[in-house]
């Protein structure tokens, strides 16, 4: 089995610096998810680990070997691509057995391993079909099957579910989770679907512009984001940010206010908060309560979306900014009605402006 270490990893295409020095430690058997906006370098980083892209600088260790200069086939990794990349001229069986065929495995060995993979992925009945006769979800199974037969120490997934419809995506997500339990292999998974990230990951790596923003468990990142980017990236609907004035700093707490917000004392967890300056107050939509008699944030309802089990309110605050409130119940708030929102100061995040 294999732990993976990325040390000062960089990648440039000529003058374009795409990965700008990334350090990540991945334990053996861990499920790590890379998330980040489009173009931030997730795929590039994954392909560098696979050996499909050269490493411009830094070192990459898989197991106890530095593999910077090893070709993909000598790295002990398997990869599942967004487009599935199953070979159109081979049957499912031949596709799944491809790696074994290449390594010269006997027919008996191939048959046994393909049968086992097919059982795990419940695709025994598909083995003699051609890829053109498969649905998207079935193709994805074949791609995963091809990855698991060789029992590699490391699995790499690049947005494997993004071409599937929502229902199938959920099924496959759970299956990948189960697969990780069963195989116990190290898995690195790229996605920009935060539900996938939150549910699958032992550890999430948030990337932006080729740099790591934060690494931690899903709940770490959700409850203790290091910066505005991470705070805004995880969670749906995403976190509200208000620009506030810091009126007073005393010990571990700061008092903040603005035209819409009554003075509130918030714990300081990040540097850069000074009395008399500005700050960004982050409030998750789910933690805002319109029924709180001690509501401290004032505005009026601009829009209400009722989904039955959930209600999303867009409010225009007294200072002119917009705010999203998510209630876990059905409620009716007429447009234009005044609204006061309460929140638990411990659930608020204060960042330097």
């Amino acid at each position: 089995m294999a732990a993976i270490t990325l040390k000062g990893l960089k990648k440039s295409y000529g003058q374009a610096h795409v990965i700008k020095g990334v350090d990540i430690t991945i334990e053996d058997g861990e499920f790590v998810v890379f998330v980040g906006p489009s173009g931030c370098g997730k795929s590039t980083l994954l392909r560098m680990i696979a050996g499909l892209e050269d490493i411009s600088a830094g070192s990459l260790t898989i197991g106890d070997k530095v593999v910077n200069d090893l070709p993909p086939k000598d790295r002990g990794v398997a990869m599942v691509f967004q487009s599935y990349a199953i070979f159109p001229h081979m049957t499912v069986r031949e596709n799944v057995a491809f790696g074994l065929t290449i390594s010269g495995a006997s027919k008996e060995e191939k048959d046994a391993k393909v049968a086992e993979a097919a059982r795990i992925l419940q695709m025994e009945h598909l083995l003699d079909r051609r890829p053109s006769q498969l649905s998207g979800g079935q193709r994805q199974r074949v791609a995963i099957g091809r990855a698991i037969v060789r029992k590699p120490a490391v699995f790499l997934f690049d947005e494997p579910l993004s071409n599937l419809d929502a229902a199938l995506r959920m099924d496959m997500r759970m299956e990948i989770g189960k697969l990780h339990q069963q195989l116990g292999a190290t898995m690195i998974y790229v996605t920009h679907d935060q539900v996938e990230a939150m549910t699958l990951a032992d550890k999430i790596v948030v990337l932006k512009d080729g740099l790591v923003q934060q690494i931690g468990s899903p709940m770490d990142l959700y409850h203790r984001p290091d910066n505005v980017f991470v705070a805004g990236f995880l969670g749906s609907p995403s976190m509200n940010f208000l620009t506030v004035d810091v009126t007073e700093v005393s010990g571990t707490h700061a008092t903040v206010r603005n035209a819409a917000l009554d003075p509130t004392s918030i714990e300081i967890r990040h540097p850069g908060i000074v009395a008399g300056g500005k700050a960004k107050l982050g409030l998750r939509p789910q933690y805002l309560n319109p029924d709180d008699p001690a509501g401290r944030l004032h505005g009026r309802v601009a829009l209400t979306e009722r989904l039955g089990s959930e209600t999303v309110i867009e409010a225009t605050l007294t200072d002119g900014s917009n705010l999203i409130v998510a209630l876990a119940r059905d409620a009716h708030f007429p447009i234009g009605q005044d609204i006061s929102l309460g929140f638990d100061p411990d659930m608020a995040h204060l960042f330097a402006a």
Binding site: K73, V77, I102, P131
Partner: protein, 291 residues
């Protein structure tokens, strides 16, 4: 948009009419050739001014064929041409596809420059390099059954080797490979395949259409070789079909025999081409890479 049935039918009719006219235009010379090959010279010349030229009428016989065989060793010529053509096509498909593979999928120093140079050769007409090539061929060494010899003139190899690699075929392959989904190649690499295995097990099986195209183009070029064999082959035993045509253009041209000879060397090729075209379309439909 409204469109009446009549209008649609008329357009269909016109389209077919046009296609038929074009087909007829291409077919006429062939029909003329085949019909004439069965007619004695005198009648052939009389008929050639009117529609009878395209009809199997008058004094028909195989005489022209018998005489053509008397006049020239046609079997030898056809054998030579087929041998040279088939060997060149096979070697060319292999060499040019591996070259295209290296240009498309592999990273190496000077790749872009080398490809540019190969593309540049596309605009150099063969006539320009014929003389230097002749000089070169006349001095090349060869190791064969009789040990080391110098000079390639009067041989099969001099008709084959210069035509194995060519810019157009390499370009065709490189272009086709570029459109194959790159992730297929990457998946194979991650699965442990060597470059050679990727070429053989992934790329070639998906290359039916381009192989057929390249084969047809190369076949036509090779089967129709005239200038080069004229320059490098003086002995009858290595002479190809097009050069063999000279045997029929002596003092008085025997048109009937010319037509018989041309029919003999054209019809099999035409049949083969039509067959390949079918295979070509079938392979396009079956690879399913693009769908």
């Amino acid at each position: 948009m409204m469109q009446s049935n009549d209008n649609h039918g008329l357009r269909l009719f016109l389209r077919y009419l046009l296609l038929v006219l074009i087909a007829v235009m291409f077919a006429f010379p062939l029909v003329f050739m085949v019909m004439s090959s069965f007619k004695p010279d005198q009648q052939l010349l009389l008929d050639s001014g009117n529609v009878r030229a395209f009809l199997p009428v008058g004094d028909l016989s195989f005489n022209n064929y018998f005489e053509a065989f008397e006049r020239a060793p046609i079997g030898v010529f056809i054998f030579n041409s087929v041998l040279v053509t088939v060997v060149t096509v096979v070697l060319s498909l292999f060499l040019c596809s591996t070259a295209g593979f290296a240009f498309t999928f592999m990273e190496w120093r000077g790749r872009k420059l080398a490809f540019t140079i190969i593309l540049a050769t596309l605009i150099v007409p063969f006539e320009t390099i014929a003389i230097p090539l002749l000089l070169l061929a006349s001095k090349m060494p060869w190791i064969g059954f009789d040990g080391l010899t110098w000079g390639w003139l009067n041989s099969y190899r001099v008709q084959i080797i210069p035509f194995i690699a060519d810019g157009l075929t390499i370009y065709l392959f490189a272009q086709y490979f570029k459109d194959l989904p790159g992730e297929l190649i990457e998946a194979a690499r991650v699965e442990g395949a060597s470059w050679w295995q990727i070429y053989r097990k992934i790329v070639m099986p998906l290359s039916g259409p381009v192989l057929a195209t390249a084969a047809i183009l190369k076949f036509l070029v090779m089967y129709n070789q005239y200038l080069w064999p004229l320059m490098v082959v003086q002995q009858e035993e290595y002479r190809p079909v097009m050069v063999g045509l000279q045997y029929f253009f002596q003092l008085n041209i025997a048109w009937g025999e010319v037509m018989a000879y041309l029919s003999l060397i054209t019809i099999p090729v035409l049949a083969f081409y039509l067959y390949l075209q079918k295979a070509f379309i079938a392979s396009l439909a079956s690879t399913g890479v693009k769908g």
